[in-house]
Structure formats: C-alpha cells, structure tokens
C-alpha cells in the first residue's frame, strides 16, 4: 500500500519535472549560447592583455562541462574526469609532435582518445555505484597518470611533453604570443561544445540518462538498460573532456602530468558544484567565477590567496547550496511565480 503510494508519488514527481525542466532550460538555453558568445567577445575586447588566462578558462569550462554531463545528467559520482582530459591532451600532444599539425585534426584526435578511454573504462567500472565507483574513477586516473609517467619516450614523463607547435588555424591564423588566435579558437570550440551538449541532453537519449539518474529500476522496468545509457553518456563526456584536453595542449603547447592528476579532477568538481550541476551553463559560470576569483586573489596576494578562496567557496556553499546558477534561477523563479499568480 505505502509502497504503491510512494511509487505513485514518485511517478508524479518524475513526470512533472520531466516536463517542467524541459521547458525552463529551453528558454535559458536559447539565451545561453549567444550570451556566452557575447560575453566571450566582450572579454576579448575588454581584456586584450589577459588572453592567456582567458583561454585557459574557456578550455577548462569545456572540461567542467564534460563533468556536468556525467555528474549532472547521469548522477555518476566521479573523481576521474582528468583521466579523459589527460588522455585527450597527451593524444593530441603526441600526434602534434610526430605527425599532425592541423589544430582541428588535433582536437579530433583528442576527442577520439578521450571517448575511447571513457568507453573502455566506463564499460568496466560503471556497474558500481556511489563510493565504490568514486574509488574506481580515482584508480583509473592514477593508472592513466602512471602510464604517462612511465612512457617517458612518448610523453616526456614528469618533464612534460613539450614541442607541440600546431600549424596556423585553417592555414591562416598563427598561434601568437598575445594569444588572440588561441582565445577565439577556444571560444569557438566552447560554443560548439555547448550547442552539441545542449542537443544531447535534450535528445531522447539525454532524457533517458536523466531517467537513469532519477530511478534506474524504472528504466529497466520499461525495457531500457541503465548501464548502457550510463556508459554511452560517459563516453560522450569523455569526448568532450578529450577535446578540452587537446584544446589545452594546442593553445599552451605543452602537456604535463598534472593534466591527468587527481587534483585536476577534484578541481573540476569544485568548479561544477560552484556553478551548479545539471545545467550546462553552471559549468561555464562556475569555471569563470572560480578561475577569475583565483586569478584576482593570487595576483593581489600570491602568498595567502588560498585562505581567501577558501572563504569564497564556503560562502557560496553556505548561501547558494545549488551553485551560483541556482541563485539566479531562484531570482527568476520569484519573478515568474509573481507573474503566474497575477
């Protein structure tokens, strides 16, 4: 009786949000891409001297976005996203040093490598859940990092893989010292990534993934395979992370062991939680605010900035538990509620 009642309640709950969020992000989403593009271009004109940092922010935003796809939309608790990022970065770096110069081809190589490693490891570990899964994702990252450390002839080991010198973009634009090409290139890639990610999470496949997150049993009951959905989304996110890694390799010209480190995974998680999970733009907002604040604090006081960034994070967690974007949405919701009642 009670079970059935809760079940019915759950049905109602899942049915209602399934319709509601589909509508709300649609409004935000249409705004999101042009707003990101406009903000990105504005930053290009406003801070022409900070393009190095801004390029890193954009590439990182794409990486955090990939984490949002697995964590926010599938509920996969992972601390292993850096494995895909690192694999993509190293694959693109190695390809650039030995064979390919074209930046777009390098992104493809990175994406492919990231997707493959995600598919392989995802198929192996995604039967686990919760803490077990968390441990397994950490293990995968450690293995990738150790392989990169051991394969010194290919990756440069702890010295880093240097000598990545990509050809001009589209044969026209050289990657210059001021970082203008790098920045615009990264912005274009991030925007493309946002569009594709939006398309994916709104597709039947994306909705099925959200279904798995809400209730995997129900998905099996209606004939879907939760694990297959999870592995597929994990691989898709792997492609995103791999492209982000390749983008970092191309724009910075070097890949280090840090790109496949546990702390890089954890940092992505912090940025995502800061911005808000399951919202795509939360990833961008979280990355921009975290790295922006980090940069300003570290520049003003290179010796004690960590204390202040800790205070900043505590403030956000205390007052905006759903991330910065949830605060904005709550504000929007207030207005909408008033409008609806009137």
């Amino acid at each position: 009786m009670t079970a059935a009642a809760t079940d019915r309640a759950k049905t109602d709950k899942t049915a209602a949000p399934a319709a509601a969020p589909a509508r709300r992000p649609r409004d935000l989403g249409w705004l999101g891409v042009p707003v990101t593009a406009a903000a990105g271009l504005a930053a290009f004109w406003l801070f022409p001297e900070d393009l190095g940092l801004l390029t890193r922010i954009l590439a990182t935003a794409l990486y955090v976005l990939s984490l949002d796809l697995v964590l926010g939309y599938c509920g996969i608790a992972t601390l292993g996203q850096a494995a895909m990022f690192g694999t993509g970065a190293y694959a693109a770096g190695i390809a650039a040093v030995h064979w390919i110069g074209d930046p777009l081809a390098l992104l493809a190589v990175g994406g492919l490598a990231g997707g493959l490693i995600a598919l392989l490891t995802g198929a192996l570990i995604l039967h686990a859940r919760g803490l077990t899964l968390l441990m397994l994702t950490i293990a995968v990252t450690q293995i990738v990092q150790e392989v990169a450390n051991k394969a010194r002839d290919w990756t440069g080991g702890s010295d880093g893989l240097s000598g990545i010198d990509p050809a001009p973009l589209l044969g026209l634009f050289r990657f210059d010292m001021f970082g203008r090409t790098s920045y615009l290139f990264a912005l274009a890639v991030l925007l493309a990534g946002l569009l594709v990610a939006r398309r994916i999470v709104r597709s039947p496949f994306g909705l099925a993934c959200r279904g798995v997150k809400e209730d995997p049993l129900r998905i099996s009951a209606i004939g879907g395979s939760p694990k297959a959905y999870l592995v597929a989304m994990y691989a898709v996110a792997g492609v995103f992370a791999g492209v982000a890694g390749a983008l970092t390799a191309v724009t910075s010209g070097i890949v280090g062991l840090d790109s496949a480190s546990f702390s890089w995974s954890a940092e992505a998680l912090v940025m995502l939680v800061l911005g808000g999970t399951g919202r795509l733009y939360g990833a961008v907002l979280g990355t921009v605010s975290f790295m922006g604040v980090h940069h300003i604090l570290a520049a003003s006081d290179p010796f004690h900035w960590m204390l202040f960034i800790g205070l900043f994070l505590m403030g956000v967690v205390l007052f905006l538990p759903g991330g910065i974007l949830s605060g904005i949405e709550r504000l929007g919701g207030l207005f909408r509620a008033k409008g609806g009642k009137a």
Binding site: L51, R152, D176, M177, I254, F303
Partner: protein, 394 residues
C-alpha cells in the same frame, strides 16, 4: 582590414612598451614564476628572501634603472598555467626578464614565448639538463642531476667501492640520476648490481630494503624527491638494519637539504651526498649572505640550494641589465653573461657559453651533528664541474 589595424595597434603598443622600458631611469621588471602557496611554498619563500637579500646588498637600481620583481604563484607543476602566467607577465606587465621556475615542465612551457618576445629566462631551479637546449634564451643558475651525480660516482669508485645498488623514484629526475650514475660508475670500473625504481608516492620501502640486502652491494645510490618520502626511505634504511650492516648511503644533496634535516633526524647521520651548496660552506661570502639573511628575516635556518639559485639568478639578471644598458634585447642580454665568472655564497661560478648553465664546484658532504644541530659538513670539493648531461639526450 580590422585585423590588420588591430595587429598594427598591438604591435605599436607593445613596441612602445618595450621602448619605454629601454629609456634610461626607467623600471625594469622581472617576473618570477614559482610556488608561493601550497606544499612547495617554502621554495617560493626562499626565492623571494634571497632576492631581497641581494637587493639589500646591491641596491634596487642598475645604471639608473630601477629593478622591480613581480611574483606570480604557481603552486604545483602545471605547464599550461605557467605559460598563461608568463604570457600575462610579458603582455600585461611588460616584464623584460622571466625568472624562477621550480619544476622542469613549467620552465619548458615558456620556451616559445621567450623566443617570440626575445626575453631571457633565468632558471633558479628546474634541473633537467635538456631545458637549456630548447631555447637560446635560457640561463640556469641551479644544478643538474648529472652535475651532482658524476663527481659522486667517480668519488665512490676511488673509494674502492665495487658494487652498488641504485634506488631512485620512478620519475624524470630519478631516471636522470640513475643513468648518470650507472654510466659514470661503470666507466670508472665499478658495477651496478641492481637498479631499483620505486613508485613516486610509495612510503613503504621495506621490500626494496630487502632487495638491497639480498643484492650484497657495498653501497647504495639513492634519489627521491625531498620531503616525507626521503624521510621514510632514510628511516627504513636504518630500521631494516642496512645501516648496521655497513652498507653506505650515497645520493645527490637534494635529499638532505637544510629545511628537511630536522625532520630526518638521526636517521640522516652518515648519509654522504654531493651538492652545489651547503649552508655550512665555509667562506666569507657565504657568512655575509647568511648574516644579511638573518638580519632581514630573523633566521637563516631555511637557507638552502634554492636560496643560492635565486641569489645568483638575481646577480645574473642585474649583470644582464647593466651590460645591455637596460635595453630590452634578450639574445644580447644572454650573450653578455656568457662566460661570466663570479664568486657566489656557494663558491666560484662560471656561465658555460654553450650550455648556459653554471659550471661550479661540487662538494662532497656528510650529515653530521654539530652543536646539537644536523648539518651537511663539506669533506671535499670537486672544482669546475660542468653540466655533464648537456646534449646527452634521453
């Protein structure tokens, strides 16, 4: 069209900035990239303090130009961030010199930038030999593993040691040390009976100690990153009875650096190392350096190899500014200091014109307790040691 205009504009602004930098009685900025927070914050602190000591001794102006150091924090090895910081320093802060660099990848990351901007980079630490091959604008005032290891291996062979086991952490510098040791020691007639590569993050060394015991070697050559791992290794060496058994412990001096000695404690007693600097180095220059440091910061206990790396690096930068009259030309500045010799707190230094790395005296030291405090007492000195690893290739 618009692109051309913007390019021209950027060029003009940049050129103007450089021009202003070159005018007399201006400010020459030096960007220092190093860890100032996090687990390696001590390194940045020693850099900053050594620079302050140098400026206190030599003034803040060179030929009318004020020298200003700008510090950028890079808390761990992160080459992409290193490049972004260097880019910011060059484009926004208009620095004429880059300096610092604790980790090798962070130093390597700036090679394309310093070449394009024609700016010298003075490396205070990053110790992989290959770095200076990547750009003609690198100058290094620290040491390399080859530089420390070759004289040590030769010394051990001279001592009549025949069989040695190498035990190194499995990462770039460790492998460098192993290669340098094996090559030199076997050339000198000794035999490396076993080469052990230990996981970088391992803290349990008992199995490796057993392997060393079983190999029957007379001595070990060990290299691990400074800090807790070395501590655990030295303790395991004593606890597993290897010390009692009379197996001798040798290694490059990074493993017994001054700030770590109190933590290493008596387990470190008797470890013999070769290095470019010991706080206990007996010279007037070193005494003056330590006294000034104590006067400015209250204590000189943390003065170590990164301190002299930065101190001598600051000297090289001052000389570059003086010899180019403050004009921004990276290649000319580097050319101006090639072959330059001077007396440093660690002893006599010369910048090798080919490798742009310092040729220096390497000291053989043993950890001893003097007045209740552990120190690296110098036993012998090997003069004029170059970077043996330059262009060896890996």
């Amino acid at each position: 069209m618009a692109t051309h205009l913007r390019t021209a504009l950027f060029g003009a602004v940049f050129g103007l900035a450089l021009g202003v930098g070159g005018a007399s009685a201006a400010t020459v900025k030096v960007g220092v990239i190093a860890p100032f927070s996090g687990p390696f914050a001590m390194v940045g602190k020693t850099f900053k303090e050594a620079i302050a000591v140098y400026q206190a001794e030599n003034g803040k102006t060179v030929g009318g130009d004020t020298v200003e150091f700008i510090f950028k924090d890079l808390d761990q090895a992160n080459p992409a961030q290193s490049k972004a910081l260097a880019q910011e320093l060059i484009v926004k802060e208009k620095v004429g010199y880059l300096a610092g660099f604790f980790f090798t990848p962070d130093a390597l990351a700036v090679a394309p930038l310093i070449d394009e901007a024609n700016i010298p980079a003075v490396i205070f630490n990053a110790a992989t030999s290959a770095i200076t091959e990547k750009s003609p604008r690198y100058v290094r005032t620290s040491f390399t593993l080859w530089q420390n290891t070759v004289p040590l291996a030769e010394h051990m062979a001279r001592q009549g040691i025949k069989t040695v086991v190498t035990a190194v952490s499995d990462y770039g510098p460790g492998i460098d040390g192993e290669t340098a040791f094996k090559t030199t020691f076997e050339k000198s007639g000794g035999k490396v009976v076993d080469t052990i590569r230990m996981p970088l993050k391992s803290n349990d060394f008992a199995p490796f100690m057993q392997r060393i015991k079983d190999s029957g070697a007379e001595a070990i050559y060990a290299f691990l990153p400074a800090g807790p791992t070395t501590l655990a290794f030295a303790k395991a060496f004593a606890d597993n009875g290897l010390k009692e058994k009379g197996i001798k412990f040798f290694g490059p001096g990074d493993i017994t650096q001054e700030p770590d000695l109190p933590a290493l404690g008596d387990a470190a007693l008797g470890i013999t190392t070769t290095f470019n600097y010991s706080q206990a180095h007996d010279s007037a220059k070193n005494k003056a350096f330590l006294a000034k440091h104590k006067e400015l910061f209250g204590s000189s206990d943390t003065v170590t190899f990164t301190s002299v790396g930065a101190y001598d690096g600051a000297h090289v930068i001052y000389q570059m500014i003086q010899k180019t009259g403050g004009k921004p030309d990276g290649l000319k500045a580097v050319d101006a200091v090639k072959g330059m010799s001077w007396e440093s707190p660690r002893g006599p230094l010369t910048i090798n014109p080919d490798s742009r790395h310092v040729t220096q005296t390497i000291y053989l030291r043993t950890v001893e307790k003097v007045d209740g405090k552990l120190q690296n007492t110098e036993q012998a000195a090997f003069a004029d040691q170059p970077d043996y690893g330059y262009k060896v290739g890996k």
